[in-house]
Symmetry: C2
Subunit: 456 residues, 2 copies
Amino acid sequence: MLDQDHIEEVREIGPDLREAIAAGDAERISALLDPLPYSDALRELLALSPVERDGVLELVPAELAAELIEEAPDEMAADLVERLEPERAAEILEELDSDVQADVIGEMDADDAEAVLSEMDAQDAADVRRLAAYEDNTAGGLMMAEVFRFSDKDTVGKVLRTFASEEDDFERYRGQHPYIVNEAGEPTGVVSLRGLLTAKRSAHLTDIMVRPMTVPVDMPLERLEDIFDEHPFLGIPVVDTDGLLVGVVSRSAVAEAVLERSESESLKRQGVVGDELRSMPTWLRSRRRLAWLSANIVLNIIAASVISAYEETLAAVIALAVFLPMVSDMSGCSGNQAVGVTMRELSLGLVRPMDALRVWFKEISVGVINGIALGLLIGIVAWIWKGNPALGLVIGAALALNTMLAVSIGGVVPLLLKRLGQDPAAASGPLLTTVTDMAGFFFVLSFATLMMPWLI
Amino acid sequence: MLDQDHIEEVREIGPDLREAIAAGDAERISALLDPLPYSDALRELLALSPVERDGVLELVPAELAAELIEEAPDEMAADLVERLEPERAAEILEELDSDVQADVIGEMDADDAEAVLSEMDAQDAADVRRLAAYEDNTAGGLMMAEVFRFSDKDTVGKVLRTFASEEDDFERYRGQHPYIVNEAGEPTGVVSLRGLLTAKRSAHLTDIMVRPMTVPVDMPLERLEDIFDEHPFLGIPVVDTDGLLVGVVSRSAVAEAVLERSESESLKRQGVVGDELRSMPTWLRSRRRLAWLSANIVLNIIAASVISAYEETLAAVIALAVFLPMVSDMSGCSGNQAVGVTMRELSLGLVRPMDALRVWFKEISVGVINGIALGLLIGIVAWIWKGNPALGLVIGAALALNTMLAVSIGGVVPLLLKRLGQDPAAASGPLLTTVTDMAGFFFVLSFATLMMPWLI
């Protein structure tokens, strides 16, 4: 019901929006987009032509433009910003936190990025350059440069005055606690809310602070996940190799990165490497998909060579050709289920590469049951359909065996790939289907060759 | 490098842990598990036999046991808790927030759940019963019952004294702001940190409060995502149909639910409906996987009937059988790439069911390029391999056409399923492969029938 209403509502805005853009009516555009959730407003923006999009981003207040840019995935955000005049692009980006600025600018062409950076506040631009240099999915790549920072000479009163005065800036710290930094720039303390609320205004921060937990810039996402899991902090200070405070990584930045990693892995398992969006250029989308498909077609040809080796058997019992794709597809599906569960357990941290044997035991027990069930089913179908019990036996036995093989491979291969330092998300599927295709064809055709007297 | 170290470290703990459990040495067990990240500690626990697991959960301090339970996915957590004595289970659960309690107890058998609830604090048990009644992935299902709640008669001083005193309870509110509730129980205000820090202690909360944003108990996860996207709040009060304050939904609970939904959809796309973990009973895992596979095998049989209809053509040109599985597999892969991108854009909110036509235009442009590229590739391979240019033409043309069909279906079907109120994650794949299998077989075999004079 809600969804339906939503669709109607969205449908109505498009023409009005185009009219307002054509008329250069900035207020009307804002009035149309402002009441929408950002995700809906972004979709409206994307439904426009590129020139109309530029119009919207140039005309609306910088804050609204910044929200739309932040809502978009990074690559798309970079595409949108690149098309604007550098002054306007800088104005919009200045509304965003430094971590988002760095993500968007990091996706831009080097020349465009430089043009925008040179229009930004010098300090902000320096922060962005610094942040953009860190690896994605490390503390450095996820942190923001804005730190709610005080000196070890400051008092509680100073913090309270800051709360009272710097209204805008305070928003930027996303609920950070005040961090105390010594003259060298090392974080030496953090002050709790309770400390602030219950201490005298004249108290020195050093009297009520505790030693802060810190993480190094190169700490990987997996460890950050563990740390935020175990501690209630909303943010953790990040230090460089000299122990100096360089930023703060927030709980929400880590949560967002984990979600993105999960969705990106899920795409890769479907054969889409690189986080494709349909707003990307056709040639790029096509090239990325083809790269994966071309590797896959080579594997397919290898598997098909098994069929080719048994052409005589096939020629004698042409009905086998009806069942070959079925056996290979069903085994692939069974194996993919096992891949899915292993990938989930890997991402939940419930299995490690060394657990391959334990995983195999768990898979083969399901594989035996499902193999027998599916083998019986397809065997009976083949028998009745083609009126030949021997054919049913050949097909049924082949599917049963191949199902057991497929779940074994599907369960274990992602762990082995991980152990070898390969990416299990992109490679498990093609490896699995190649082996199960070859084995499936081999089982059907070699069993048929053995049973030939009863088949013809 | 880090990963390798990690593996070594984990490998060492197992035997020591078993020894400590056998000796009933609670301190030793805690000393072994406490220094580990919770995810590693949970994996160690799962590597033990069920009886050993019970031993660990009975012997370690309730806080540590609670952390392990919280780290586990809900179904697994319920299995672990069900095996314990109700008194101990209640003691462990009392360490957790009400939303986690409700999730775990919601997964337990009704009898076990009752036994545990009757051992819990009466107020907590009532909260859990109330929370467990709400739908998953709604504000009610995601909220916690603990509210940092004050009356509209209270002063700033009262809040500050609460901060100073209720050390333990305060942790539970996960950074909530103080909410002001009138006598009827309606939330009438919220007080900002800045307000608290800058007001006099004698000031009434009603003087510095602002009207709070609230959400209804039945607000779905998608809307909550939008709201937390647009507002910096760490929590939002949840009201029932009478407008009474019944709980607070936190930013982190929403982020976690979004991640779980994403992983659960990704599993479903691989044919695993229900969030399988290998710790579940074999018959349950087998039955859930078989349900999906059985539906799939029926679709496979329908597709195979196309081959069966062309057995004469196949008998005449047996080499066709080598390429049939290849055409169907490659088209399935191309289509799945399109499914993956549509699912991603749906979850990012970039497309809506009504955008099917726009999506199709974007897909067919990639489909034409990739279809021609793959068709040429496989056509040349077939020509060279079997020495027949006409065979190359048949196979190449069939794959090219079927690739265009597959990306069209793959891109659009998830949107249509969504529009029909169906679940695109579980159903898109089987629907796609059935149609592309049928069409692929039909293209190859009907083209071959037309080209027969040049093929034999």
